[in-house]
Point group: C3
Chain length 208, copies 3
Amino acid sequence: MIDIDRLLGLAPVIPVLVVDDVAHARPLAQALVAGGLTVLEVTLRTPAALAVIAEMAKVPGAIVGAGSVLSPDDLAAATSAGARFIVSPGLTPKLGEAAIAAGLPFLPGVATAGEVLGAIEMGFSRLKFFPATAAGGLPTLRALAAPFGNVRFCPTGGITAATAPDWLTEPMVACVGGSWIAARGDTDWAAIEARAHAAAALKARGAA
Amino acid sequence: MIDIDRLLGLAPVIPVLVVDDVAHARPLAQALVAGGLTVLEVTLRTPAALAVIAEMAKVPGAIVGAGSVLSPDDLAAATSAGARFIVSPGLTPKLGEAAIAAGLPFLPGVATAGEVLGAIEMGFSRLKFFPATAAGGLPTLRALAAPFGNVRFCPTGGITAATAPDWLTEPMVACVGGSWIAARGDTDWAAIEARAHAAAALKARGAA
Amino acid sequence: MIDIDRLLGLAPVIPVLVVDDVAHARPLAQALVAGGLTVLEVTLRTPAALAVIAEMAKVPGAIVGAGSVLSPDDLAAATSAGARFIVSPGLTPKLGEAAIAAGLPFLPGVATAGEVLGAIEMGFSRLKFFPATAAGGLPTLRALAAPFGNVRFCPTGGITAATAPDWLTEPMVACVGGSWIAARGDTDWAAIEARAHAAAALKARGAA
């Protein structure tokens, strides 16, 4: 199992992917890895998602995880498909326990200080701040993070190529999640690789 | 017991009512029903609320529920008064279990993805997004709803006649809660009926 | 043990303090008390915090509590250091139970209606609204507080000398937390006393 700090430190941006066609899995992952983004989050929002994870996992250099994991069942299915890390929009005790039992790096979503506190109690201190922009953006994350010196965040939701650098200059930001690298249905692999290349060149101040 | 999807599909707007005088209960409910809004939420924020529910429940065509339900005790009192559905600003396991035991349609409030996840775990997938405007409005709901394909929302809080149509065009919005139809203390039944009529003419894209 | 309503009524503003140097503890507390602010929150964000609490507790007239309390261990350490009240950014059942067992006034942070509901279930009805400004400011607090008639709030986070009066005119606001009185590292005791004096002259509408 890869350590979560190492995982989050592999690239400043984790592409958040919604893939409908399993035939797109390999060329998409290849474009992202070629651009320098090796940590890929495939959301379980499409019927094809599990097959996409399995296909992408075969791409050399790709570390493929599952996002939008909502339940222990989702988590088990993602693990069986070959997911190497798990991302969820929020956290419940049941989901947290399943993640611990699965032994995979787990990045649960939080939006309030109470949710951060609940995550810490379960042993999670690397957290997705979600939805990052809609929940108030950087001012909210700064306020939220202030009492939690040891927590690092991966803000996700509404972040763009233009705003990612601002997030990444914060000391509590390990990386960001982003859907701008490869939008749903986009099959222009060269353009995706170019955007991945630009994203991979960013620096995250809070990376381990 | 009415199915919650049928309940939320009966009208695009649920009037959220704060009633101080039980003498207003019947004419208020009659005006709303005459205007086409048949699903009425009476908040337990006034000493008269339970008596208001009992009175309104006698109005033909009205389906009267209780809002601002904060505890199992509130829930039991509302049920005894004749409430046919229950709305709460938030959800705790204790309150959710009481709602399941009561066997009434239950619309618990959520504001974060973690809260949506907790609701789903308890079996609730029709949720009040509260406070809808203050919590970030439509951009927040869109971001919040994205990972939860099967969840439908009834945004409530700060919605007006002017903004309701925008909310109702979203596919995840089953209906909205609104206090603009009948403000606290308003006894102009004709005006209330006119506003109800306008509200009832709206279409909710996410209605079942 | 001081009653929490009496505590929150002692001054309209609770200075939220981040102190790195224990040598600053006494003069800082003396300046604040001289200015009329007697309820002091020392955040456990610095290695010196516990020693600072112990030192400040010796200043006549000062009622010193601990903030940024994240766990039962933090709570025990703060109590041992002489903290007379406890503030946390959020609430979990474990932390709430530890606060009840400690028998100290406890002001847990909340940001959603579900969190308010969870706090009420544990017996807490005096709550920190955090992060006050980033979570949507006064409109959010007004919407959030509406269903909870008996709850009083101490909004904290991003409040300034300019905005404090607006918060304090709300009937559900017992007091506010503020870091503008004494910023981290500030040792201009006369200026701190002057700002404390101005803050102490404010009136909180929701004070008991």
